[in-house]
C-alpha cells in the first residue's frame, strides 16, 4: 500500500514487490509443505501430548491415513515426503525471516498492519464483523486500508502461526534438540510439538480457505492482479 491516492474507480499501486514475491513463493511452498506433511503424518497417524508417544501410549487424536489426492507424493512414500518437506522448509523459514525484517525496515508493518487506536474500539470491531458477515466490502478510500479483521489475521499468521509452525517443526529434529534444547522445553516435549505442528498446519489451511473465499467475493480478477502487478482498482464508493 504505497502512498495511495483516493481515486474512485482508478488504479493505485497497492502491494510492494517484496509482498508480491513473498506471497507467491509462500503459495507454492505452503502447498508443498502441507501435502508432503500429510504424507509424513500418514506414517504414524496418531498424535500425543508430552515428551514421548508411541502405539502403547494414549493418543489424543487418531486418524485414518490421508488420501493420495492430497498427499505428496500421491503414493505413500515416507522418504520422498520427507525430501519434499525438508527441502521446502528452510526456504520457507528464511523467506519469512527476511520478509519480517524487510517489512519492519520499510515500515510496512507499522504503516499497514499495526492496529491504530481507532481500530480497537469495540464498536469499530463489531461494525467490521457485521460488514464481513453481510459481505459488505469497503469501497473508495476505505478499501485502501486493511480493516481490523484483516490486520488481525495477517498479524496472527505472520507473527504467530508461521513462526509456530516453523519452531515446532524444528523441535521434532533430534539434532536440533541437542543444539537448542530450550525448544523442547518451550513446547513441552517433542510429541507436544508434533501435535502443535499439526494444529498450526490446519489453522493455516483454514486461513487459506477463508483467504481464497474473500478474494473470490471481493473480486478475484482485481485482487489477483494486484498481487501480481501491484495495481489495484479502487472500488467505487457506494452511492
Amino acid at each position: 500500500m504505497d502512498s495511495p491516492t483516493p481515486t474512485d474507480g482508478f488504479a493505485v499501486k497497492r502491494h510492494r514487490l517484496s509482498t508480491r514475491l513473498w506471497h507467491w513463493l509462500n503459495a507454492a511452498l505452503l502447498y508443498v509443505l502441507f501435502t508432503s506433511g500429510l504424507g509424513i503424518f500418514n506414517a504414524h497417524p496418531r498424535l500425543y501430548w508430552g515428551q514421548y508417544g508411541a502405539n502403547f501410549d494414549h493418543a489424543w487424536l487418531e486418524l485414518e491415513r490421508f488420501p493420495g489426492w492430497i498427499t505428496l507424493p500421491g503414493l505413500y512414500n515416507l522418504a520422498m515426503s520427507r525430501h519434499w518437506h525438508l527441502t521446502a522448509a528452510p526456504i520457507f523459514a528464511f523467506a519469512l525471516l527476511f520478509y519480517m525484517l524487510w517489512s519492519l525496515a520499510n515500515r510496512h508493518v507499522t504503516r499497514d498492519l499495526a492496529f491504530r487506536r481507532d481500530d480497537l474500539r469495540p464498536r469499530h470491531i463489531w461494525q467490521d464483523i457485521k460488514d464481513h458477515a453481510r459481505l459488505r466490502f469497503p469501497t473508495g478510500q476505505a478499501a485502501l486500508r486493511y480493516n481490523v479483521l484483516q490486520k488481525a489475521s495477517y498479524i496472527g499468521v505472520i507473527f504467530i502461526l508461521l513462526p509456530l509452525v516453523i519452531l515446532t517443526g524444528l523441535t521434532m529434529a533430534p539434532g536440533m534438540n541437542a543444539a537448542w534444547p530450550w525448544l523442547v522445553d518451550l513446547f513441552g516435549g517433542r510429541q507436544s510439538a508434533r501435535s502443535l505442528h499439526f494444529i498450526a498446519a490446519f489453522a493455516l489451511a483454514a486461513f487459506f480457505i477463508v483467504h481464497i473465499l474473500m478474494v473470490i467475493l471481493a473480486g478475484p480478477i482485481n485482487e489477483v492482479r494486484s498481487m501480481i502487478t501491484g495495481r489495484y482498482r479502487v472500488p467505487e464508493e457506494r452511492p
Partner: protein
C-alpha cells in the same frame, strides 16, 4: 467465477501429479535429496561438537518401549547364538584400525559403562524414552586405534533383510566419538530383548531411530561408503531413499 469442489480436487490432483512428475527428473531429485546436506551443515554449525541429546528423569521413561524394524532376525546363525545366551557372540572391530580385535559380551561388560535416559525418535513420528546402558564407542575405538584414513564406521548386523542383505548403518567420526554414542546391552535395567536388538545395539542419540542399528555383529572403519551395500551408507538409505544424516 465459482470454484466447485470437483474443480478444486482436480486442480489439487493435477498439481500433485505435476510435483510427482517433477520429482522423477534427475535434477529435481538431486536437489530434493541434497537438502540433507544443508540440514547437516546447519545443525552442526548450530551445535557444539559434543552437544548432548536431552536426557530425562526416570519417571519420564515410556511405560512400554516400542520395538520396531526386525523383531527377531530368526536366522540359523542368530538362533544358535541366542540359544547359548550369546556366550559365543563376538563383536568384531575391523577395517582401518591399527589393532583389529573381537570382544565377547562378558568382556564388553567389564569395560566402563555409560547410562543414559534418552528419547528414541522414529522417522515415522513416534517417540519412546528408555534408559540405556552400554560401552561408549569411543572406548572401543581408542582400543582399536583408528588409522588416519578412517572417515566412517559401518555397523554390521545379524538381521537379514531379504535376499541375503543384512541390515547395516554408518556414522561419521563426529558422532562416533560423541560421549552419548554407546554400544548398548541393557534397556531399562534389563538385558536387551531380542525385539530391541539383543545382544547389543548402537545408540546415536542425535539421530533418528533407523540409525540405531540392532543385533550388532561387527564394526568396520572405512574411508568411504562407496561399494558397501548400494553405497548410501545404510540399509534404508539404499532401499528406500532415507537420508544418511538423520538429525532431522
Amino acid at each position: 467465477m465459482i470454484l466447485t469442489r470437483r474443480m478444486a480436487l482436480l486442480g489439487a490432483g493435477a498439481m500433485l501429479t505435476g510435483c510427482d512428475r517433477l520429482a522423477s527428473q534427475d535434477s529435481v531429485r538431486k536437489a530434493l535429496f541434497s537438502a540433507e546436506n544443508f540440514h547437516r551443515w546447519a545443525q552442526r554449525s548450530l551445535m557444539a561438537r559434543d552437544a548432548l541429546a536431552q536426557e530425562f528423569r526416570p519417571d519420564q521413561i515410556s511405560p512400554i518401549f516400542r520395538a520396531n524394524g526386525t523383531a527377531n532376525p530368526n536366522t540359523p546363525a542368530y538362533k544358535a547364538l541366542w540359544r547359548n545366551g550369546f556366550a559365543d557372540w563376538r563383536l568384531a572391530v575391523t577395517g582401518l584400525v591399527e589393532r583389529p580385535f573381537s570382544l565377547s559380551l562378558a568382556q564388553l561388560r567389564t569395560l566402563p559403562h555409560r547410562e543414559q535416559i534418552t528419547r528414541h525418535d522414529c522417522v515415522e513420528g513416534w517417540s519412546a524414552i528408555g534408559k540405556w546402558r552400554g560401552v561408549p564407542l569411543r572406548t572401543i575405538l581408542d582400543g582399536a586405534r583408528l588409522r588416519d584414513s578412517a572417515r566412517y564406521l559401518v555397523f554390521r548386523c545379524a538381521d537379514d533383510m531379504g535376499g541375503g542383505r543384512p541390515y547395516y548403518e554408518s556414522i561419521d567420526l563426529i558422532d562416533a566419538f560423541h560421549p552419548q554414542t554407546i554400544l548398548a546391552f541393557a534397556l531399562n535395567d534389563a538385558p536387551l530383548t531380542v525385539a530391541n536388538g539383543a545382544p547389543m545395539r548402537l545408540r546415536v542419540e542425535r539421530q533418528l531411530g533407523y540409525k540405531q542399528a540392532k543385533y550388532l555383529m561387527g564394526i568396520e572403519a572405512v574411508a568411504t561408503l562407496d561399494g558397501i551395500g548400494k553405497g548410501k551408507g545404510g540399509f534404508w538409505e539404499d532401499v528406500a531413499g532415507y537420508d544418511w544424516y538423520a538429525g532431522i
